[in-house]
Amino acid sequence: MFPRDTGLLVGKVLQGETRTLARVLSMVENGDPLSESIMHDIYDPARRSLTVGVTGPPGAGKSTLTCRLIGYWRGSGRKVGVIAVDPSSPFSGGALLGDRVRMQEHASDPGVFIRSMGSRGHLGGLAGSTRDALELLAAAGYDPVIVETVGVGQAEVEVASLADITLLVLVPGMGDEVQTMKAGIMEIGDIIVLNKADRQGIDQLESSVMASLELLPEGSHRPPVVRCSSLTGDGIEELTGEMDGLLSGILDRDSLVRRRTTLILESILREKGRHMAARVVEARFGSIERAVDLILDGKTTPYGIGVLLSEEHASKAGD
């Protein structure tokens, strides 16, 4: 069936072979033992593929907007990749991935590759393997790649560090203007999209967003604010115009690449650290559950295990 041969798989991904790309995406998502060496061969800091983040609360119209953006870039003949993340159930681990419903018109276009991902317990609005999926799509020749986050609340800002440009999609009726003053999600939009502009409350939304932006310190970047309706298409031209303007202004792509690379390295360090620490605890106590038993029996505390890990690390480093 599918050869488990890194070189062969990497070669086919680089040729843009759809079936292999799809299978390798699953391998990466599932943490397949081969996935790290595949990513090692795929990763190329010199690759220039535009990454666009689309984020905002549930039901704001992110998928419908994404569909419009696909159409815009297909119009100029570019191959468009989409990674659409939806939440996984914390109970069953299952997920209903429904973003495709709004992108139907591009479903049989061979120049469009859409992949739905369950967040699988990862917080921050993305899935843990979204960063790798991005690299894979870019390697297969998709440029731009659009990353649509789960419906976010206030603090899920991870997409901004992965994307070259992030669109924050807001809609009328999400609360009073104190909401637009809070830290977090309101700070990450390179462009703020006021969607469903045909709805009541759009003026109020716009004035509270503008008021919040006016409070930004002198000289700091003020994101453009664009009204649109993803459903009718009104305002989309203005939005893509603003986007292209911003992108032509991003001269320092090297710093974007550096930022993304730092993020990838940091999350790999975090994952490895967790695995290594868990292995020490398992070696010492048998299992995490056993360690919890000991804590509840009053033999140690979670912090005591922290101290133990630090000591273990220090003794190894001293060798």
Binding site: L97, Q104, S108, I114
Partner: protein, 133 residues
């Protein structure tokens, strides 16, 4: 390594009755699967392309319009053409008993009649997965 069963639920053809499809999608989600729901009025080509891109293990089709003898085998053919021949197909909806053998011959592993409980579909998927590994 965390392997999740991935299933695409789609509705080819022109009928817009998706209660059954949504009911199954929801039940599979609650059974711990990742369900890609593609919505109503899909062409066989759109369904097959989506199934390949999403790398699903199963494609479940629902149809109530009576066009299953044409549309179901067409999805099967396009899936094979796109390299998705290892994807397991199943179907449901208003499908007369006498049409089932033909659909099975076209590559469908199971056809579920109206009134099928969600558990039956979940069990079918789990059984098929066991046979695969």
């Amino acid at each position: 390594m965390e392997r999740r069963i991935r299933v695409l639920i789609g509705k080819p053809g022109l009928d817009g009755h998706d209660r059954g499809a949504k009911y199954i999608a929801r039940a599979l989600r609650d059974a711990g699967m990742e369900v890609v729901y593609t919505g109503i009025r899909q062409t066989p080509d759109a369904i097959a392309s989506a199934a390949v891109q999403e790398d699903v293990d199963f494609v479940g089709l629902s149809l109530l319009s009576g066009a299953h003898n044409h549309l179901f085998p067409e999805v099967a053919r396009l899936l094979r053409e796109k390299g998705g021949d290892d994807i397991v197909l199943f179907g449901g909806g208003v499908i007369p008993e006498e049409d089932i053998p033909g659909l099975k011959e076209a590559g469908f592993r199971a056809i579920f009649a109206p009134g099928t409980s969600a558990t039956e579909v979940v069990d079918f998927i789990n059984r098929e997965m066991q046979d695969r590994v």
